[in-house]
């Protein structure tokens, strides 16, 4: 596993130029305060701040992962987790090749929400999207409310990647991203996926009827 830390879209793989570079858009979904941002910060920056004192914006980050023959560049889009902004999520995950649905193992509700997210993704997102389920805060096992088995069962049922992660201790953080990178189809060119969706963000099929540009 090799994760080269980089930030910004211009990051180039440091390997040989002949290695294929694949850029993927990855969307983070999940209830607020389940640790989406922490997870990404841990993955991208290798940092964890319990009280989030660092000044890095965690909304949009990129990270490059080197696999055997390819370099996968993740472009990670964070989404607002609040319930009231739920309806806007399709705008984010439109055109995404991967999504991580995060829940908090110490909070059953977040797991319920995660299930909803998964359902919505399967229904509305691109059919080839790779979905991973991440049970975050695994370091707080004492307060566990969501059993690993339960989540695993749900993941298997829906063909999801599943890992319990901890942004605080970095357990499984890189692993889950690597698993996604491995699962993603590398054959198609980077730009190909962009042709269809996402272009007309405003006048596409926004969730609410009478969307902004109709």
């Amino acid at each position: 596993m090799s994760v080269s830390s980089s930030r910004g879209a211009a990051a180039r793989p440091n390997g040989a130029p002949q290695t294929k570079v694949c850029q993927f858009k990855l969307v983070l979904l999940g209830e607020s305060a389940v640790g989406k941002s922490s997870l990404v910060l841990r993955f991208v920056k290798g940092q964890f701040h319990e009280y989030q004192e660092s000044t890095i914006g965690a909304a949009f980050l990129t990270q490059t992962v080197c696999l055997d023959d390819t370099t996968v560049k993740f472009e990670i889009w964070d989404t607002a987790g609040q319930e009231r902004y739920h309806s806007l999520a399709p705008m984010y995950y439109r055109g995404a090749q991967a999504a991580i649905v995060v829940y908090d193992i110490t909070n059953q509700d977040t797991f319920g929400r995660a299930k909803n997210w998964v359902k919505e993704l399967q229904r509305q997102a691109s059919p080839s999207i790779v979905i991973a389920l991440a049970g975050n805060k695994s370091d707080l096992a004492a307060k566990r409310m969501v059993e690993t088995e339960e989540a695993q069962a749900y993941a298997d049922e829906n063909h999801l990647l599943f890992m319990e992660t901890s942004a605080k201790t970095a357990v499984n953080v890189n692993d889950i991203f690597l698993a996604i990178a491995n699962k993603l189809p590398k054959s198609e060119s980077v730009g190909g996926g962009a042709a269809g969706g996402g272009r007309r963000l405003a006048d596409g099929e926004p969730p609410r009827a009478g969307g902004c540009c109709k």
């Binding site: 889009w77 607002a80 987790g81 609040q82 902004y85 969307g211």
Partner: protein, 729 residues
């Protein structure tokens, strides 16, 4: 008369566009008339007009009427708004028509982009700028410059061609197709072999930027294109945001603090959002959005996740109420390179903006987590209130900031004043202390040295002054005891003094010498007595006062005047008899006194003595030697050498009445007399050597003496004069 009445329909444009027609324009409205003319012209040029041209002109009125229908059906819009929109619509059409003119000329197939239409060209200025920028940014790809420009031309041309016929979406598709084609072209063309992926991205951006910048400025082609509701949506959005002016940070669950410091990034974010409208390329607008979001992130504080970003961005949009927001968003979504919009930071933030706009459009009580009734209550509130409240809040913020600054300033000023006051009191105290100290010191000094008023220095009382002296003015206080006798001495010159006077003179003499230049002493040969006689300052004073000679000696000119000589003579008398040449005491005692008195009065005459040492003296000697009595002369001769002629004169005159002769000259010091004596002296000097008789010199002296005006003459001279006069005569 029915013929005079015209039907309303008759006044309307024949084309049915609902505008009024004009007989001048064959019953068309101005616009339709122009179209008609163009059609005819085209028909004249081309016997077979393309089908598109027909579709270009004819359907327009229909569509417009459709629009109008739509408009009228929309009750929410005011009449004014309607009119404005209609006007803008017609304007758009008019502009489109112009472009369509270009296109129609030679267009055979719309899809052949490689083949350039001679009728249409991007303005050369734009082209040149493009070329320049390309060479600047991609110097390594000079060969590709033309390809890029061709692509830009093709894109712009295609857009202009299709702008009328195609819907905005179709147009967007075409533009995206151009981008894709250009991308493929870059992969194939040898010109771009040197370009890596990043450069290719930049090249696509370049094409997009220049094509869209050019097209953006053309009204209604790509920016809020005709046939779309963008403008109307803009207006509606604007209204909507205004009506939501009451929505605050707490409603949106965003953690914008009310702290004043938090306002700065908010203002910057708002400014960036507003500037989006003025950027003319999709990339530029995206950059504005990105910058705006960067400020919003700062507004949220430390690592802002999307949980914070989106609410804050919504808040910012609500407060900024950016102009033509929907048009801008649609412009970007339609004509920005799709790939970039899908990925990258710009795409992410733009998506956030779209989300924010979407959220605002669909905002309900639920989405604000508030009571429906409360929400309705807010929404029925006149929009102006919300808006004005925000405006008021903004201005309040500004005012508050100002007030804070002012209060800070006041605080600092207060501090300054306090320090100044402290220092002032300190200064006052120290001055008090200082004053006391000084007072004390002064008192001490006064105690140590009681004030003694010493007699004022007196000019010689001889001669003229005797009158004055008689008057009470001169010496009211006569501190030194010695003075009076001194004065007495001169006064008693005639009587030729008491012993007391002599003694006082003794004291005087040495001091005089000390004051006098050493040269004199040398000359006089009286060094020893001088050195030996240290005296108190009082004595000096006394001397000065008593002896006008002192004044003469101390004159800056430092002349060795006859005064000194006279002094010497004064010295000689009693006490210094040892030091002095032997003969002096005997002989000249009387004479000297008289001389002295005379010298005192002749203070002004100092310069003259100068002359003496040089020529006159020697001459005088020669002249006078014969006259002088040998016994007297010999002892004095060494001293006399330095003496004035007058001394000589004296000496010679002494025979008969020495003191008197000499006295008259000194009367000079006083101005009126001075002149005359000078002349007299000059005369006396020069003529004397020449004429051994020295009659001329003596005469003036006599004449001076005759002047009874001067006090000297009155006092001293009367008696002496007689003999002098007697002599010459």
């Amino acid at each position: 008369m029915p013929s005079l009445r015209m039907e309303q329909s008759e006044l309307k444009c024949k084309n049915g566009c609902d505008y009024f027609g004009n007989p001048q324009w064959q019953g068309y409205c101005s616009k339709c008339h122009r179209e008609q003319l163009q059609r005819q012209r085209r028909a004249a040029n081309k016997p077979s007009p393309s089908s598109s041209s027909a579709s270009a002109t004819l359907p327009k009125p229909e569509r417009k009427s459709e629009d109008r229908l739509k408009l009228t059906s929309r009750s929410s819009f005011s009449k004014f708004e309607e009119k404005r929109l209609r006007q803008s619509e017609t304007l758009k059409k008019a502009n489109l028509l112009k472009f369509s003119m270009f296109k129609k000329g030679g267009s055979t197939d719309d899809h052949d982009h490689s083949d350039k239409k001679p009728e249409f060209k991007i303005p050369s200025a734009v082209n040149e700028a493009m070329k320049r920028e390309f060479n600047q940014r991609f110097p390594a790809l000079a060969g590709a410059s033309r390809d890029v420009r061709v692509c830009v031309h093709a894109l712009a041309l295609d857009v202009l061609k299709c702008a009328r016929a195609a819907t905005a979406d179709e147009l967007s598709e075409r533009v995206q197709g151009h981008y894709q084609r250009f991308l493929k072209h870059m992969d194939v063309s040898p010109h771009f072999a040197a370009a890596d992926a990043d450069t290719k991205e930049a090249l696509i951006d370049f094409v997009e930027k220049h094509a869209m910048t050019y097209l953006h400025d053309l009204p209604s082609v790509v920016f809020s294109p005709s046939g779309t509701d963008d403008e109307r949506l803009d207006a509606r959005m604007c209204e909507r945001i205004q009506s939501l002016g009451w929505v605050g940070a707490k409603h949106l669950d965003c953690k914008i603090s009310n702290d004043q410091r938090a306002r700065a990034p908010l203002y910057r974010a708002i400014a960036e959002l507003l500037s989006m409208d003025s950027a003319s390329s999709p990339g530029g607008k995206l950059a504005c959005v990105r910058r705006c979001c960067a400020h919003v992130m700062r507004l949220c504080g430390a690592p802002a996740s999307a949980d914070d970003l989106l609410p804050a961005l919504i808040f910012t949009v609500l407060k900024a109420n950016p102009p033509r927001l929907i048009s801008n968003i649609n412009f970007v979504t339609r004509f920005c390179n799709a790939q970039r919009l899908m990925t990258g930071e710009g795409g992410y933030y733009f998506t956030n903006l779209c989300c924010a706009v979407s959220f605002i459009e669909n905002l309900t009580a639920e989405s604000l987590d508030m009571d429906k009734e409360e929400f309705d209550c807010y929404m029925t509130m006149p929009a102006s209130i919300g808006g004005s409240s925000w405006a008021a809040a903004l201005s309040l913020c500004a005012e508050l900031k100002d007030a804070e600054e002012q209060s800070e300033l006041v605080q600092s000023l207060k501090q300054q004043v306090a320090t100044i006051e402290a220092r002032a009191t300190e200064l006052a105290n120290s001055t008090d202390v200082f004053q006391k100290e000084i007072e004390k010191k002064v008192a001490d000094v006064l105690a140590k040295t009681p004030l003694e008023i010493k007699p004022r220095r007196e000019l010689p009382r001889f001669g003229k002054f005797q009158n004055i002296k008689s008057s009470p003015l001169i010496d009211l206080d006569t501190p030194p005891t010695q003075e009076p006798p001194e004065r007495d001495v001169p006064d008693t010159v005639e009587t030729k003094e008491d012993s007391a006077a002599d003694q006082s003179q003794h004291t005087i003499v040495p001091t005089e010498i000390t004051f006098g230049e050493p040269a004199k002493t040398n000359i006089l040969g009286l060094e020893t007595p001088e050195l030996q006689s240290p005296h108190n300052t009082e004595d000096n004073w006394v001397v000065k006062q008593t002896n006008s000679m002192e004044l003469l000696n101390s004159s800056p000119l430092g002349f060795t005047s006859f005064d000194t000589r006279s002094i010497d003579e004064l010295l000689t008398p009693d006490e210094f008899g040892d030091n002095l040449p032997p003969g002096l005491s005997n002989i000249n005692y009387d004479i000297d006194l008289s001389d002295f008195s005379a010298d005192n009065s002749a203070a002004d005459d100092l310069p003259k003595p100068e002359k003496d040492p040089f020529s006159p003296e020697g001459i005088n000697k020669d002249v006078f030697d014969p006259f002088v009595v040998p016994k007297v002369r010999d002892p004095f001769s060494p001293i006399l050498e330095s003496f004035d002629q007058f001394s000589l004169v004296d000496s010679k005159s002494n025979r008969q009445s020495d003191p008197f002769e000499i006295v008259p000259r000194p009367s000079d010091p006083f101005s009126p007399e001075g002149l005359q004596p000078e002349q007299g002296f000059g005369d006396a000097f020069s003529p004397m050597p020449v004429a051994s008789a020295s009659t001329p010199a003596q005469r003036p002296l006599a004449s001076i003496l005759d002047d009874s005006d001067s006090p000297t003459t009155a006092c001293l001279l009367p008696t002496p004069l007689l003999p002098q006069q007697d002599k010459p005569t």
